[in-house]
């Protein structure tokens, strides 16, 4: 039986691990390669790197991080942030990532999903979607709307419809990030996660809101997700990945326990 995946997410700026995009000011919290290796050794099932670099020059530093990671960790990892063209995708895949995650780039230009899938295979294309809860309306029948720019810009697109579109265009996986839950540590947005997991037949990663092993257990059971993304609960030492995995496994979820 397929194991549910636990996936730490690392935000990288200027080649360093930082606090997330949402936080004011960027605080250096370590070396991304070292951190990735530690999580790999501790049993992370996959790792996500998110480039929050602003300038073009810094992109080179980021790609260098990707290459170093690829030669030190031997589990899959994906890379997101600043992916707007097939060439952007190619650069991170050549640097050694298995998958590339496209978010606002796909909202603005959905064709990039089909182009990426044609060039690299669906398995390499993850679509990250940032979602906010809104009043149900004719345009947003589910009450969940696609947003970009960290939630500052509403796109007038229903999240469930967008998820189906991404699947039809050839996405291999969806990462559903609730902007409402993100950073709260109150748990994932289970209703949203479940609606999307039910609407598509590709794997769905739950993101935003992880504060405890129980939240993660809920995401991969009630939420219907095949993987749970985590960040601050492991970055600041509140839990280690083996702690989390043991507790979630004890609750009855099927996880990879030998690594």
């Amino acid at each position: 039986m397929l194991s549910k995946r636990i996936i730490p997410c690392l935000d990288v700026r200027n080649g360093r691990l930082t606090k997330g995009v949402k936080f004011e000011g960027n605080v250096d919290i370590g070396d991304p390669v070292e951190t990735a290796r530690r999580y790999y050794e501790q049993g992370a099932d996959e790792i996500v790197f998110y480039d929050i670099t602003a300038s073009h020059e810094d992109r080179g530093i980021f790609l260098d991080v990707v290459e170093r990671v690829a030669s030190e960790i031997f589990i899959p990892f994906s890379v997101g942030g600043g992916i707007n063209t097939v060439e952007d995708m190619r650069a991170v895949l050549v640097a050694g990532a298995e998958k590339v995650s496209v978010n606002s780039g796909a909202v603005k230009n959905p064709d990039i999903i089909s182009q990426g899938a044609a060039a690299f295979g669906s398995q390499a294309i993850v679509v990250g979607m940032d979602v906010k809860q809104v009043e149900k309306s004719e345009t947003i029948p589910s009450g969940y709307e696609i947003v970009i720019h960290g939630g500052r810009k509403f796109m007038g697109m229903d999240a469930i419809e967008w998820a189906k579109t991404c699947e039809a265009l050839g996405a291999g996986e969806l990462c559903v990030n609730s902007i409402d839950a993100d950073g709260t540590k109150d748990g994932y947005e289970l209703t949203l996660t479940r609606m999307i997991a039910d609407a598509v037949s590709i794997p769905v990663i739950a993101s935003g809101g992880a504060g405890s092993p129980a939240h993660m257990y809920d995401a991969i059971t009630k939420g219907g997700a095949t993987a749970a993304l985590i960040a601050s609960i492991v970055h600041y030492g509140q839990y280690t990945i083996p702690d989390l995995k043991r507790q979630i496994s004890d609750m009855g979820a099927k996880l990879r326990m030998v690594w």
Partner: protein
Amino acid sequence: MLAILDYKAGNQTSVRRALDHLGIPCAITADPAVIAGAHGVIFPGVGAAGQAMNELVTTGLDKVLKDQVQAGKPLLGICVGCQIMLDYSQENDTKALGIVPGECRLFNPAWTEEEDGRPIRVPHMGWNRIVQKRPCELLKGIEPEAEFYFVHSYYPAPPESYVIATCTYGEEFCAIHGGPGLWAVQFHPEKSGRPGLALLRNFYAYCKEASRA
């Protein structure tokens, strides 16, 4: 030295990185002389069967590979490499290499997950256990609880006598097929952490041993 067959497969660099990490000498190559001189050949693969076969046939590497197998050179196929070692793949209705009998089939979406009875999601993406059906040098020293990283929509279906290990996703399918010196794994050992690296190390040890014999 291990030759990693260069036919533009997406994971060939990942395989090289894993072998580099293990200190196993290797080269990504399409040169028949280099391949002939290697202790063993790794036949990687990511992507679609049709495209992979086109590339092999266009470059003549299909023949190189078959000749090496014929000559008894140890071979390890990975993912799409594992699939197109069979006679045929349903993906792109592809006539494949026919090194091992059997065909490669699309996961049946009517299969359901054991835990909640929902239809399986395709691709089968993530970590899963394998169950060993017959002895295999590749798995030496790897604990039975170990999991491997899979990402695929099609699975190999060789005759039962070739099945070395199976995996269950909705239903049981073949995860490793072949026989001594001619192996194919559906998962990605280069991305399966410690157990995957152990499998690659076992393959190299076998190749070196075989070349001495």
